[in-house]
Symmetry: C2
Subunit: 163 residues, 2 copies
Amino acid sequence: MRISDGVEWAVHVCGVLAAAPKGQGVPGLKLAEFHELPPAYLAKQLQALSRAGIVAADRGVKGGYRLARAPSDISLLDIVLAIEGTGPVFRCTEIRQRGPCPTPPAACRRICPIARAFLAAEAVWRTSLAGVSIAEMNRAAAAESFDDKRRHQFEAWIADAAR
Amino acid sequence: MRISDGVEWAVHVCGVLAAAPKGQGVPGLKLAEFHELPPAYLAKQLQALSRAGIVAADRGVKGGYRLARAPSDISLLDIVLAIEGTGPVFRCTEIRQRGPCPTPPAACRRICPIARAFLAAEAVWRTSLAGVSIAEMNRAAAAESFDDKRRHQFEAWIADAAR
DNA sequence: TCCAATTCGGACAATTTGTATCCGCTTTAA
DNA sequence: TTAAAGCGGATACAAATTGTCCGAATTGGA
């Protein structure tokens, strides 16, 4: 059980897009370059973000990606669901209904207690991730690692990348 | 991102072992039979449970598996960690330190804010699972799906399987 | 005491799933 | 019309999952 790297990439990328000049898009190639990520595969993750309505994609020569809504309105959970899919992490296969001593169907109206416990754990996990936004991530990262020099360096880079 | 079926199997199997006559072992083959699981692969999960100290294995003609401690002292988290490994679900690859505008090492003494948020979510998930024991699972399952007839059927089966 | 039956354990092979790349298509602005 | 850019499908590659096998340990009886 492991979260794919694509989720980490997508969160970082959304952080970059949140800092881009409003209304301008950043091409996928530039985004890959910023973190030295494999361009072709990052493109796949960007497609997923686009389908989920987290980023908007503009095609054509002045195209690129931009956030589809405010950074404060995009949570880490939104991104996880976009990349990993919305299905539950734990999937009950109802083995209790098989074998020589099966639980009868009448007793299976409610889902199995084991599945209930796992789904409850997953719910608190989701709630925790839903409470953290891209905006907060950027604030924390800036506070911890931006001095004036690096801020300027970053703004120059993104001004060049955006179009 | 998905929890392997082995976790579900292991939880069910521990529930069966918790109901077995004290001090007697149940062979892996019988455990597989009870839920119609692939015997060879269930054996693999049982090995993992054994290595983690959740079940004890006795070899030889009177051998089999039994719980290594009280059912009330085995949590769902214990089983997840035994089967899936103890490593975190989210793994930060520190991409912030790469590319044309990297976060300098001095600013990376603390782990990345993104990783912090994911690890915090994982912590509440673990806490939730740690609060549920095999004993509670069995109580719930028995209350929901055992009538007198089925209880008798189950006890007959396990009396025959244990040795 | 030795042998046969039974059972777990660990190394090995196969299959499925996920990861990563590439290429042709459509769209857009100059 | 052309060059830049995202989209989706087809395809190779890697990894985890699933499954198999044979050896080691233990027991009970000859």
